[in-house]
């Protein structure tokens, strides 16, 4: 009951007016017109018949009107809240702060700012007794709870653009009972909100050309050459001329002008062999662009150093593997006999990589190692099981970095061993459906690659893409660790990181949970992670097609700039409406019954 919340002046004035109106209405009875008739005999018959029915429904109608008037006045004065008890006077506002909400609208402000302005206006119009829960789709509001309007406005002001490409309306909030629920969104990444929410759209189509993919790689078959692949998309509605610009940390630059039609997505391959190793910034500049977040991307070029390989083979004379290694431009290969090999020799030669061909060392080498034709050994971290005697069907794991640009379609394996006891730390990249893993990689400080077969039990050395597999193998084992590409936000790094530095040297705080180190990459850039095994590079860029597609809204309604906040009928205006309705009914009742002098 909120009778006391009514302005006292309004209450007394309306009561006084009602009393005066009632008195005036009853005083306004028209003068009686008397008609002398011969006799009322016939009239009585007529009235008796017609009034028998009329009197009844008129009595019920009068009763109904009187009841309605009383009820309306009671509602107007006390305004009982008929909504569900638990959610009474509660309002939930969900602000979509996904990255596409940073797009700037025609009025110069971002979609998020527009949403916040609308929400602020809405909060200002709310009656003071309402509780409001503000929550965002990026979970930046850690513990959403119902607050008063003033605090809600403060929370609303603090909401910033998030980084996740998968925004959600928190399910916990959806379960909260409330009188009204609104989602302020552009409908791009969030999509259509749940049915229980009313949508306030801040979507407006804009022009945007963005980078949707960046990759640096060696040229297959020519590891000395490197190229960059950049994918661009024009998500706007007009053809755009885009200047693509690649800048290395050392100052090398590469520019290219491209014309992209509306809705078109194109890929560009650029030769960056001349670029020094280090961070590379890719940017795309166009004349009209309402969304700048996808206009730049970062990556890292690893160093092109020579790799020292020590090949340990039983018979080096007819070793096909040796021939291939000698042909590779970055490889300096040395060959020793299996008998001559010992850990001491390996320490003296300081190879970057050890390759054992049909030889298994007695102890685990203390540097990166590849073993072809593995046989059982105590130090091996995997179980070497039964040797195969028949030809098996080989299945490759295309996602493994070693299998990049490698098909091995005609690989035939007719013998060797299979590996058992495969754990999460052991990644098989070749396997047999019936037998098990045929080739696996073991990560760690000194990674190991194990092949269960060799040139005698398979035709792997004869395949055309074996050199590419070998190049991938050398890159993976001998080069710097592969660059980790990620989107802004919380990034997980395997193992314990010592520290995380940004491009400007700023150190970022980290936390470790279950052998994973996390840090918050707020913005795009190249981050260097220092670990016990050496440095790791994390290139953080906001590149994704669904991120650049800022016009792919699932909300059909386009909101004008002068959108007003959704209106809730306040208690005071409702009271006025109810009073007016009661007064109208009073006049109707008076007109129908009391004004009449007749029965």
């Amino acid at each position: 009951m909120t009778a006391l919340s009514l302005p006292i002046v309004f209450f007394w004035v309306s009561t006084l007016l009602a009393v005066v109106a009632v008195i005036l209405l009853f005083l306004l009875k028209p003068p009686v017109l008397q008609a002398l008739v011969s006799s009322n005999v016939v009239w009585k018959q007529v009235i008796r018949v017609s009034q028998a029915l009329n009197d009844r429904w008129r009595w019920w109608l009068s009763l109904l009107l009187a009841t309605l008037i009383i009820l309306l006045l009671l509602f107007a004065i006390y305004r009982p809240d008929l909504s569900e008890g638990e959610g009474r006077n509660k309002v939930i506002l969900v602000i979509d702060n996904s990255p596409t909400m940073a797009a700037r609208m025609s009025n110069g402000i971002s979609r998020l700012d527009m949403a916040k302005n609308l929400a602020q206006d809405f909060l200002s119009e709310l009656p003071g007794d309402r509780s409001v829960l503000i929550v965002d789709t990026q979970r930046s509001v850690a513990i959403p709870e119902f607050t008063n309007i003033a605090l809600a406005k403060t929370i609303l002001d603090g909401i910033e653009i998030g980084t996740s490409l998968d925004p959600v309306v928190p399910s916990k909030v959806s379960r909260e009972a409330a009188e009204h629920r609104f989602v302020f969104t552009d409908g791009v990444l969030l999509g259509a909100p749940p049915d229980s929410y009313e949508t306030v759209s801040v979507f407006e189509p804009i022009s945007n050309v963005g980078i949707t993919h960046v990759d640096f790689a060696l040229v297959p078959g020519n590891p000395g050459e490197r190229q960059a692949f950049v994918e661009l998309k024009n998500a706007g509605f007009e053809t755009q001329v885009v200047e693509l610009d690649l800048n290395s940390e050392a100052g090398e630059s590469l520019k290219r002008k491209i014309e992209i039609k509306a809705g078109e997505k194109i890929g560009q391959i650029l030769n960056i062999s001349s670029f020094s190793s280090g961070a590379v910034r890719v940017s795309a500049t166009s004349g009209q662009d309402g969304f700048r977040f996808d206009d730049k991307a970062f990556d890292y070029l690893s160093s092109k150093k020579e790799i020292k390989v020590l090949l340990v083979s039983q018979n080096s004379a007819d070793d096909k593997l040796l021939e291939l290694l000698e042909l590779m431009p970055r490889v300096d290969v040395q060959v020793i006999n299996a008998v001559a090999y010992s850990s001491t020799v390996a320490d003296e030669l300081q190879p970057d990589l050890l390759i054992f061909n049909r030889v298994v060392p007695e102890s685990r080498p203390n540097r990166p190692t590849v073993i072809f034709g593995v046989k059982s050994a105590k130090w091996l971290p995997v179980q070497v099981t039964d040797a195969m005697s028949t030809q098996v069907e080989v299945v490759k794991n295309s996602a493994h970095p070693l299998m990049r640009n490698v098909s091995l379609r005609d690989l035939i394996v007719e013998g060797g061993v299979v590996f058992g006891g495969v754990t999460d730390a052991i990644a098989p990249f070749l396997s047999s459906k019936s037998e098990g893993a045929l080739a696996v990689t073991l990560g760690g400080v000194n990674p190991i690659i194990l092949f269960g077969f060799d040139a005698e039990t398979s035709n792997i050395e004869l395949l055309a893409d074996f050199p590419i597999l070998l190049a991938n193998l050398l890159t993976w084992m001998g080069d710097e660790p592969a660059v980790i590409r990620a989107s802004p936000g919380i990034i997980a790094i395997p193992g314990d990181a010592v520290r995380v530095n940004g491009m400007d040297g700023k150190e970022y705080s980290t936390w470790t949970v279950a052998d994973q180190t996390y840090f918050n990459a707020i913005e795009a850039g190249l981050y260097t992670i220092t670990t016990e095994d050496g440095p790791l590079r994390v290139a953080v860029s906001q590149v994704a097609e669904k991120f650049s597609d800022v016009n792919q809204s699932r909300i059909s309604r386009v909101v004008a700039a002068d959108l007003t906040a959704p209106n809730l009928s306040g208690g005071f205006s409702l009271a006025v409406i109810l009073c007016l309705l009661a007064f109208s009914l009073l006049v109707l009742d008076w007109t129908l019954f009391h004004r009449r002098v007749t029965q």
């Binding site: 017109l33 011969s38 009322n40 009239w43």
Partner: protein, 292 residues
């Protein structure tokens, strides 16, 4: 001659005779068929001659053929009492007194015809009983007295047929023609009211006087209807629907009165004050076979 009947109209009445449906039982000579046979112009029957019979009525032609004396009998013509009742209740004063004037004119007209035919004409003005009475008189020379009586009548009181008839006929009156002129806006049942008349065997002719304001009242909206006789008031919101229902009810009311008299074998004539009285009365009475 009078404000009630013009000379021209009286001349038109001179040739009229009142027709009664049954033979009368008057003792004085008149112009109506009597129950008795005797001197008259209309042959009635034969009977054998008895000594003492008037030999002027012997049928000599039959005697010549049959050689028997046969006496011819003739219907005797006698007078009849005519009782004219005029409703002089307050309701007759409505329509600017038009109804009462029509009633008086009709009474004067029938009196004149009756007196002209040597009938004994009695007049009685009644409301809740006989207010004024003019005892039975015969002869044309009584017409001035009759007119004087009628002109002097003033409406007053409420209508009560039953009391009027009981008191008037309770003393014993010769059976005759009862002419009843009224607006029939009575509360009580006609059946009960006319029971004494039916018992005494009178022949009845009812004249129902109505006015246009009763047929189709020009009223509307909020009205208090005041009964002219009882002063009883009734608050009514007169809608078009209610007025339509009234008009239908009034027609039904008139029809029920007419049906009552027709059913009883009595004559009935309805006269509207808006009608031309002389024409309406002459045509109506002839149509109802009261005059010839």
């Amino acid at each position: 001659m009078s404000s009630l009947l013009s000379k021209e109209f009286l001349r038109r009445l001179d040739g009229l005779t009142l027709l009664l449906r049954r033979p009368v039982s008057g003792h004085l000579r008149g112009q109506h068929r009597s129950k008795r046979t005797g001197v008259g112009m209309i042959f009635s029957d034969y009977r054998p001659y008895s000594p003492g019979d008037d030999v002027r009525n012997l049928d000599w032609a039959t005697y010549m053929r049959l050689d028997r004396l046969v006496l011819r009998l003739f219907e005797e013509e006698a007078d009849t009492p005519i009782y004219i009742f005029i409703d002089s209740s307050n309701s007759m004063l409505q329509a600017d007194g038009g109804k009462f004037l029509v009633a008086k004119k009709l009474a004067a007209m029938l009196s004149y015809i009756g007196l002209l035919n040597h009938d004994r004409v009695s007049l009685a003005a009644f409301s809740d009983g006989v207010v004024r009475e003019l005892p039975g008189r015969r002869g044309k020379n009584q017409m001035w007295r009759t007119l004087h009586f009628l002109e002097a009548l003033k409406p007053s009181g409420v209508t009560n047929y039953a009391d009027t008839f009981k008191r008037y006929f309770g003393g014993g009156r010769t059976r005759g023609l009862v002419v009843f002129i009224s607006d029939f806006l009575q509360q009580e049942s006609l059946e009960l009211s006319f029971k004494p008349i039916r018992q005494y065997g009178h022949e009845v002719f009812a004249s129902h006087v109505i006015s246009p304001s009763e047929v189709s009242p020009e009223l509307g909206g909020e009205v208090v209807l005041v009964d002219s006789e009882t002063n009883e008031s009734m608050n009514v919101h007169l809608t078009e629907t209610l007025l339509r229902q009234y008009r239908t009810a009034f027609v039904d009311h008139c029809s029920s009165i007419e049906n009552f008299f027709r059913r009883s074998g009595w004559g009935y004539l309805r006269i509207n004050t808006d009608d031309n009285f002389e024409e309406a009365a002459l045509i109506g009475l002839k149509k109802e076979r009261l005059t010839l």
